[in-house]
């Protein structure tokens, strides 16, 4: 990665760590990596997109990259930049297919999906985004923030600091209550998750 202040190792540590400000710095470092951005945009332009498509794909790739790193998908034996570009290629290929903007098979061999991650989760995030939004909106902002920080695996101390709670015990209790509240909402909307039980039950 280009930004001199953060090495690939530091980026991985920051994105998988428990420090909110370091995480933000790492994401900004990726976002401001002009060499990576140019590569992503060049790829998209080479395969039928324009500059804005390239910028959009670059930004979405950062989100996917962050998620995959947090889920432990990246193995230390490869290049982080190559991994990122794998996400760009995969994301752009899928975008083209979804939008049917061009007969992609004639221009571009299907790229390898970036390894790791959870395909069911990716499916939910791609196809049921609005339903998720509707459910999330039934939570107070405070609960949404807690749910987010819990998923980021922040320590209860960090959550308490970020949310202005008195201590980690309060943070833990609040996080528990918010998750419980969200579960109640989820149970009222089995259409969002029920089919994943059926899929698993199949031999």
């Amino acid at each position: 990665m280009q930004r001199p202040s953060l090495t690939p190792g530091e980026i991985i540590d920051a994105l998988t760590g428990q420090d909110a400000s370091r995480r933000k710095t790492a994401l900004q470092s990726l976002f401001e990596n002009q060499a990576l951005r140019k590569k992503a945009i060049a790829h998209v332009r080479r395969y039928g997109g324009n500059h804005q498509d390239g910028e959009d794909v670059f930004q979405e790739a950062i989100i996917v990259f962050d998620r995959k790193l947090r889920f432990g998908a990246w193995q230390a034996d490869g290049s982080l930049e190559a991994y990122f570009m794998g996400i760009v290629r995969w994301h752009w290929y899928n975008t083209q297919q979804r939008n049917a903007r061009m007969p992609v098979s004639l221009h571009q061999a299907p790229p390898e999906p970036p390894p790791g991650g959870n395909p069911e989760l990716e499916y939910l995030l791609a196809e049921r985004r609005e339903q998720l939004d509707t459910l999330l909106d039934q939570l107070a902002n405070k609960c949404r923030n807690l749910l987010k920080m819990y998923a980021l695996d922040y320590s209860m101390d960090e959550i308490a600091r970020q949310m202005g709670f008195a201590n980690d015990k309060v943070a833990k209790k609040e996080a528990y209550l918010c998750r419980k509240r969200f579960r109640v909402i989820l149970k009222k909307h089995p259409e969002l998750w029920q089919d994943f039980i059926i899929i698993r039950k199949q031999p």
Binding site: K24, L27, Q28, F31, E32, Q34, Q59, I62, I63, D66, R67, R70, F71, G72, A73, G116, G117, N118, E120, L121, L124, L125, R128, R129, E130, L132, D133, T134, L135, L136, D137, Q138, A140, N141, K142, R144, N145, L147, K148, Y150, A151, L152, M163, G164, Y176, R179, K180, F182, R183, L186, K187, L192, W193, Q194, F196, I197, R200, K201, P203
Partner: protein
């Protein structure tokens, strides 16, 4: 929520972090244990929701960073002279504008500050957000026009007709600290820092407060979270908020327009009802929107 002892195991499974043998064993168990399968499916949905929030936050940050991340202008040796000249011109213009503003009478300045307790619907008359367009010959009865699929850009129309809130119009609730936070959120909103607006509103833990919900809905709209913004506006409509009811109804309509074609049916129903109610404060705006969509 389950306090199942294997919650961490489920999380690791969902995050793809189990070793192959443990994963196989876990999947075998899933096929024979419906309760566990249901728990896993729900945790998956919870994880997806949390990841959606994380992605939204990252997108908002990237929006913030967008400006400084733009390529730096390269200026040649003559460019410096041009830059100095432009700076001087700007300075002159600023001095001129400053002197002009000093000449504005004080009472006129006072009039621009709305009363705090006055309902927003009275303060913001149903004036179109844009200059009214020429009206066609009036029909006997207003009829809603369903936007045709060929109509180019609903999102652009929605943005044009979206009405900004009157930021100073927040009810005071004694010395409640929430009011201070909401005012900070308003300042962030005025500075177009919509994610910070949401962050500040989050600290108030006052979703029930209508002012917070109203501002939150607007910030979400600007962050392109139309479904969420729609829900917030809808809450105010359902609550029949004296202060925000009508602006919220308009916001709701515009969110549905922005979310075309997903919310086409809901938009159409609401739009027809509004156009059939000339007493509605947003009737004129609806007519203008109808004309714009016809075009």
């Amino acid at each position: 929520m389950s306090t199942h002892p294997s919650e961490k195991l489920i999380q690791n499974y969902l995050r793809g972090q189990l070793p192959a043998d443990e994963r196989d064993q876990f999947e075998k168990q899933l096929k024979t244990d419906p309760a566990l399968a249901e728990e896993v499916a729900q945790q998956l949905a919870e994880l997806a929701a949390a990841e959606q929030l994380i992605a939204s936050e990252t997108r908002a940050w990237m929006q913030e960073w967008q400006k400084p991340a733009q390529p730096v202008f390269r200026v040649n040796r003559f460019g410096w002279l041009a830059a100095i000249a432009a700076g001087a011109l700007l300075l002159i213009a600023a001095i001129y504008l400053f002197r002009q503003s000093e000449a504005v009478p004080q009472e006129q300045a006072d009039q621009t500050t709305p009363a705090v307790e006055k309902p927003i619907v009275n303060e913001v008359p149903p004036v179109p957000a844009v200059e009214p367009k020429p009206q066609p010959a009036p029909a006997e009865k207003p009829v809603a026009t369903t936007p045709k699929p060929a109509t180019p850009n609903y999102l652009a129309e929605a943005r044009q007709y979206f009405q900004e809130p009157v930021l100073s119009d927040i009810r005071r609730t004694g010395t409640d600290n929430n009011v201070s936070l909401i005012r900070q959120a308003q300042a962030a909103y005025a500075a177009t820092d919509y994610q910070r607006t949401l962050d500040l509103l989050a600290q108030t833990d006052s979703l029930r407060q209508q002012s917070a919900t109203f501002l939150e809905a607007h910030a979400m709209f600007h962050l392109n979270r139309f479904a969420a913004a729609e829900t917030s506006f809808e809450k105010l409509v359902v609550q029949n908020s004296r202060q925000f009811r009508y602006p919220a109804e308009w916001g709701l309509l515009i969110c549905r327009l922005a979310n075309f074609p997903n919310r086409q049916q809901a938009f159409q129903q609401q739009f027809e009802a509004l156009l059939n109610n000339p007493q509605h404060p947003y009737f004129e705006q609806a007519k203008n929107l109808e004309n714009a969509l016809k075009k």
